[in-house]
Symmetry: none
Subunit: 333 residues, 2 copies
DNA sequence: CAACGAGGTCACTAGGTCAT
DNA sequence: ATGACCTAGTGACCTCGTTG
């Protein structure tokens, strides 16, 4: 337990660094991204291009390649029409802007995702080796089961595993594009799912359950998150913070937490908290890309994203989980 | 026995959930609120914005929409003028909090009561539309009834919803705007209400419902403590705490709780406790600032601000009174 | 001492500038 | 027209002081 919290502190400490140090790539041209601009990670060039072009669509010109150009770093200036189309496709929009620093939660998920892709592991495996228990949902289900049984009759029942699988199985809306640009310029794009709600296009879409703030290294077996009376946070975080939650549409929302108890004599033990439910379930402005719709079973709860080619009885995952944790000292500048 | 425990635990958890839900949204932009800032529940962004802008009105700029912008979470950064106007409209001010350093539950309660009186609705109705579901006891009462049967004869019976529908009347203040910002920048706002009393002068000393800490599910209808010497609290609440109680005259008192038994081997089960009654039964002070003896004028509004500041003995000249409230922080130069 | 708001910090971004 | 660089905010997180 103490070990987990030591790791956690490392993660918190590194969250002070800039997100631009992460190796995000421009979603349009694949150049290293300069930041999150108009709803997507982009380079300086694509950011400026989108900002200029948005208010000056008449200067776009026509594609000489039948709109089939594949945008990359080299050719991005050669076809403005296709470049803008790519911008729209990756979700850029004037209404997708965000300000201020990213949450620690977001940064940690960037790291974990990055690490998972680099090592070919699942996000859950990486998360587990770094004390981010909230990625692992199977334990939560079994914990709830054993705790409360399968009582489906009581109206006061605590959440059941069926509730959770229902969340995971729910249909997923498809991508959302900027409504101003679409009809006038790119009518050939699919417009049936257009909405004013924007979704961020980073691929941190694999969180099976309650991606909780990094300040809250959640022991899922103790976290009755869905009915919400307890959470655990490490000693030292004595202020209200946020708790993130994914709804049936894979939108993320947050709620505020407040501490009820704080035992300063216990150095490394977590602190029990209540959380304050937000009935509005307001989507997070900086939300993430939605996962593809996959058939779900009870078995692959923890394997949601990896197409469940795994057997539920597989034991090799233990070895993966026991791998070395994230090297949190690298790529800090 | 185990079955008995489970029922208790479920109900306790439910009580805690409903009582813990603050559900406050930013009055300016509708994002989940981070706290009570400058006189209103606001998010972090609107809090910082107001704090910055108040001392730097020259940077406001002009609204390009004739001052008609409807502020929300997405567009709040696009028109500073309208954002600040909204801040003022919802009552933000640097002149000090109306309610002092009371709990957020107290503030929410006061605000709900104000709103109920202004709109001629019951506190319960307003509470429900503000996400304060704990004011609504019917569901809980029926739930408990179904669990324990309907014993209406016992003096310890569960409270009926009729027990808590009594609402005390008190004078209703209309809107009060910040006096520094109004005349110079927003003369088009309705100013006829400025001469009314500030809310800090309204007495909330006879609250019909419980504006108490979220830790303490206090409505008598939600207390299982009444049925004996046992209470159930989740594991981890190992420190002495208070238990609030409302008597038939709607006076509140509290008792101290202390742990007698603590089974640390049971990881996730609630802990059975006895509670130790405080012989004093000290009543809770639910009053806010006393109403003044003099009728209010425009002058008096400023005077009140002064008096509630740190120098109550300072005798102010008329010139001083007409000045804007002192605020030397965050000079933008 | 637990709760909480004001104020501060600084990681972040839209928009502008200007050499290319 | 482009994009590296700059500037004025913006807001997530934190500290400190007050207070009940
Ligand atoms: Zn690019
Ligand atoms: Zn093209
Ligand atoms: Zn706001
Ligand atoms: Zn405006």
């Amino acid at each position: 337990m103490a070990e987990h919290y030591r790791k956690h502190k490392l993660i918190i400490a590194m969250c002070r660094f800039s997100l631009t140090a992460m190796n995000q790539l421009c979603k349009v041209c694949n150049e290293p991204a300069a930041g999150y601009h108009f709803g997507a990670f982009t380079c300086e060039g694509c950011k400026s291009f989108f900002g200029r072009t948005y208010n000056n669509l008449s200067t776009l010109g026509e594609c000489k390649n039948n709109g089939q150009c594949v945008i990359n770093k080299k050719n991005r200036t050669s076809c403005k029409s296709c470049r803008l189309k790519k911008c729209i496709l990756v979700g850029m929009s004037k209404s997708g802007s965000r300000y201020g620093r990213r949450s620690n939660w977001f940064k940690i998920h960037c790291l974990i995702q990055d690490q998972a892709e680099m090592n070919g592991r699942t996000v859950e495996q990486v998360a587990l080796t770094n004390g981010q228990f909230h990625y692992e949902s199977k334990n939560l289900v079994s914990a709830i089961k054993s705790q409360y049984g399968e009582d489906t009759t009581s109206p006061n029942r605590i959440a059941q595993s069926s509730d959770i699988t229902r969340v995971l199985k729910s249909p997923v809306p498809t991508n959302v594009y900027d409504t101003k640009l679409l009809p006038t310029n790119f009518t050939h794009l699919e417009t049936s799912n257009i909405s004013h709600e924007r979704k961020e296009n980073i691929g941190y879409n694999r969180l099976p359950l309650s991606p909780v703030s990094p300040m809250l290294p959640l022991n899922s077996s103790k976290f009755l998150f869905q009915h919400g009376n307890e959470a655990f946070i490490p000693k030292g975080y004595s202020r209200a913070t946020k708790l993130y939650k994914m709804d049936v549409n894979h939108n993320y929302s947050y709620q505020f937490l407040a501490i009820n108890k704080y035992d300063s004599s216990q150095e490394d033990t977590p602190v029990v908290m209540d959380y304050l439910a937000d009935t509005q379930e307001t989507p997070i402005d900086l939300s993430v890309k939605k996962p593809p719709q996959l058939p779900m079973t009870n078995y692959n709860l923890c394997l949601i994203n990896k197409q469940s080619s795994r057997h539920p009885t597989e034991t090799s995952s233990i070895a993966n989980i026991l791998e070395s944790p994230l090297d949190l000292t690298r790529k800090m500048c």
